[in-house]
């Protein structure tokens, strides 16, 4: 059965590494749903967070193939039940005088932020998991979304509760 898998990959922070990793996915017939890259606390090491839709068996094969890349240090498939995941979205939405107040209310309810105010539009920043982002996106759509940009998903496993 195919499902979304969140894979967190620690790699050496060197030129060409991302290309090798994304190339490996396309070569084996996988589509990357989302991708986020950034350095870790050690700047010689980067973390790549990938979301891939695939069957469990084939994801195991891809993880094994990923391990063969010399620049890959560690791979973790994150258990969705035991992680904190976030995405960040910036939305430029139509905001006329008569709709501004309504939009501000939605922004407040979702604990989002207004980061830019234009004559006829607002830019809203939302952080959260996919469901929250989908929720606010649906509510904003009727006002007219002019532009939308989202980061890939980043995720971290929860700390031990014991």
């Amino acid at each position: 059965m195919s499902a979304n898998h969140i894979i967190s990959v620690l790699v050496e922070n060197k030129a060409g590494v991302l290309a090798k990793i994304s190339g490996l996915f396309s070569r084996r017939g996988f589509n990357i749903e989302s991708l986020a890259v950034g350095p870790t606390d050690d700047e010689s090491i980067s973390r790549i967070t990938l979301v891939v839709n695939a069957e469990t068996h084939s994801i195991e094969q891809v993880v094994k193939q990923l391990y063969k890349l010399i620049n890959v240090i560690k791979i973790q498939e994150l258990d969705p039940a035991n992680i904190v995941e976030r995405e960040l979205v910036l939305v430029k939405v139509n905001a006329e005088n008569n709709t501004r107040a309504e939009i501000l209310e939605i922004v407040n309810i979702f604990r989002a932020n207004i980061v830019d105010v234009g004559k006829k539009s607002l830019v809203i920043e939302i952080t959260g998991n996919s469901r929250k982002i989908q929720g606010i996106e649906e509510l904003l759509r009727p006002y007219g979304i002019l532009e939308l940009v989202r980061t890939g998903k980043v995720a971290i496993s929860r700390g031990s509760k014991k």
């Binding site: 790699v11 030129a15 490996l24 195991e60 063969k68 890349l69 010399i70 240090i73």
Partner: protein, 564 residues
């Protein structure tokens, strides 16, 4: 301490890695490297096409077990290496390919003879490097050789921009390997090994399936001891030829599409496959869902990604074949000591019966030239002691079927990639690495035409390889498929009489011999072996001879097509 150029540093590092020979071809951005080669005592063999350099480095590596090195210029030089690198990658052969690159400040500007060779080769190398800082050069070379030759071996490419090879670096630069993301597993898990030993002891009908991993691990000796001690028959993959003596009565030869019928039948009958250094390629398994349905599988491989890739392993063991087999033999002996030898006579009898019932056969009673007959003669006249390289297609399968390989590194063939044109340059590489051995390229008239320019390389450098062309005037393997599966519609496979190979040999200063009659075969082979020069023997074989038996692609042993 003084400074030296990047190119001189390259040669110094290659020397430290024990490199004896480089196969290469010069060009604009590698002139600095060639200038350093001019002063170096590392031998350089000038090929006539970069593809030849890559295959020769591969052949050298397969014959010697050392890392093969090839060198080409940027752009077209580098892209001409691709087929050779891909072939080495598919067959896990340690090769270091060095390419020149345009100067760092013009990379990405579509400069003259620029190609993104690290991008292009990412899917066909174990690892690759573009050196952007001369300070990295010594460490990169060290890493490249280490990565190429350890774990599951494979090709590594190093791309060196011209300003790096011309730049200056402190001669005494010291480097230390530190590869955090690369730690191959050599020792097998002891619990899994005990589990496997018990499983083998309890098995009524076990077979060993041995592949190229045995060769790269140097495990042929321990494999042979293990099989003989436990009295378990051995099936080889194509690349596993020579890892277990073909002449041993426990040998079932090669399995797969053109494997022996008894090996393929043994797979359907066995209750336990002990697979070592194999990857269950589709040419071996045929229809996967029907493959070895009654068997459990112990899969031993140094590459965890191979385990469970094509078939499920009941007992996976990640580790080096030599270590794991040694441990396995020890554990197995403990069972035998405790409980006595398991009785496998019934199984061995049925194997012997299969071998009697389904031998490899070709038409012996006819006047024409049969490839099986020729290869058996080559075997006889070389005393089974030659290194046999092959091209790809029918010639390759006949060589694998009819020459008996008793030692590892004596059968050299492009298995996974199946690259026509591999054999001649690979045989040049093999002969350079093993100058005291007779090296023969068993070729087809199609394949040899892809690389015949390398005859110049062989003649000029006095590398007396023997090319035995099984000439049927067809691209024979494709023609065979057209005969069986495409109503004999021989679309573009007829290349009859397109080259006079005797004249071709002579044009290059080699010796050419044409053989059209059965009674001339022995004399021609003898003459070729005695001649201290490159020799082409052009055997005009029966034109529509097929490779038998044949299990059609994606099919099962029940559908085997056999010789009448």
């Amino acid at each position: 301490m003084g400074k030296i150029t990047g190119a001189q540093m390259l040669m110094k590092c290659l020397k430290e890695e024990g490199v004896e020979v480089i196969f290469g071809f010069p060009g604009g951005v590698v002139i600095p490297i060639y200038d350093a080669i001019f002063d170096s005592d590392i031998r350089h063999i000038l090929v006539r096409h970069e593809q030849g350099a890559a295959h020769a480095a591969d052949g050298y590596a397969r014959a010697t077990g050392k890392v093969g090195v090839c060198l080409a210029t940027s752009g077209p030089g580098a892209t001409n290496l691709i087929t050779g690198i891909a072939s080495a990658y598919m067959d896990s052969i340690p090769v270091v390919a060095i390419t020149g690159q345009v100067a760092t400040h013009v990379i990405g500007t579509d400069a003259f003879q620029e190609a993104d060779i690290t991008g292009i080769t990412a899917p066909i190398t174990k690892h690759n490097y573009l050196i952007k800082d001369i300070k990295d050069l010594p460490l990169v070379i060290k890493e490249a050789f280490y990565i190429a030759s350890t774990g599951r071996p494979g090709p590594v490419l190093i791309d060196i921009p011209v300003d790096i090879s011309k730049g200056l670096i402190e001669e005494s630069t010291k480097v230390e390997l530190k590869l955090e993301g690369y730690k191959p597993t050599y020792k097998g898990n002891p619990k899994q090994i005990i589990h496997a030993a018990r499983k083998i002891y309890d098995s009524k009908k076990p077979v060993i399936f041995a592949g190229g991993g045995i060769t790269s691990s140097g495990a042929s000796g321990i494999l042979t001891s293990f099989a003989r001690y436990s009295k378990i028959p051995v099936i080889n993959s194509l690349l596993g030829k020579g890892t277990f003596p073909d002449t041993d009565e426990l040998s079932l030869g090669m399995a797969g599409m053109h494997g022996t019928k008894y090996a393929n039948l043994a797979f359907t009958m066995t209750d336990l496959i002990i697979a070592v250094g194999v990857r269950f390629d589709d040419r071996v398994t045929g229809k996967l869902s029907e493959f070895a349905k009654n068997a459990e599988i112990i899969h031993i491989d140094i590459d965890p990604a191979e385990i469970g890739k094509n078939v499920n392993a009941d007992i996976p063991i990640v580790g080096d074949a030599k270590n794991v087999l040694a441990d396995l033999l020890e554990r197995y002996k403990e069972y035998v000591d405790k409980k006595g030898d398991p009785d496998r006579s019934e199984w061995l009898d049925s194997i012997a019966e299969l071998k009697k019932q389904y031998p490899l056969k070709y038409k012996k009673e006819f006047d024409g030239l049969s490839p099986g007959f020729i290869i058996e003669k080559i075997y006889e006249l070389t005393g089974g002691d030659a290194i046999i390289c092959t091209e790809v297609g029918q010639n390759q399968m006949w060589a694998a079927q009819y020459y008996k390989f008793d030692k590892p590194r004596t059968f050299i063939s492009s298995g996974g990639l199946g690259a026509m044109g591999f054999g001649l340059p690979a045989s040049i590489g093999a002969k350079v690495g093993m100058p005291d051995k007779t090296v023969i390229d068993i070729a087809g008239d199609g394949s040899i035409q892809m690389v015949s320019q390398e005859l110049a390389t062989a003649v000029v450098n006095k590398i007396p390889v023997k090319v035995m062309i099984l000439n049927n005037g067809y691209l024979g393997m494709v023609r065979q498929w057209q005969e069986f599966f495409w109503d004999k519609r021989y679309s573009h496979t007829n290349i009859y009489n397109s080259v006079d190979f005797v004249k071709l040999a002579e044009a290059y200063g080699a010796v050419g011999i044409r053989v059209k009659k059965k009674e001339e075969v022995e004399g021609a082979i003898k003459k070729a072996l005695e001649t201290d020069n490159v020799v082409i023997v052009d055997f005009w074989i029966e034109r529509e001879e097929n490779v038998y038996p044949m299990v059609p692609a994606g099919s099962t042993v029940e559908c085997t097509i056999d010789c009448e």
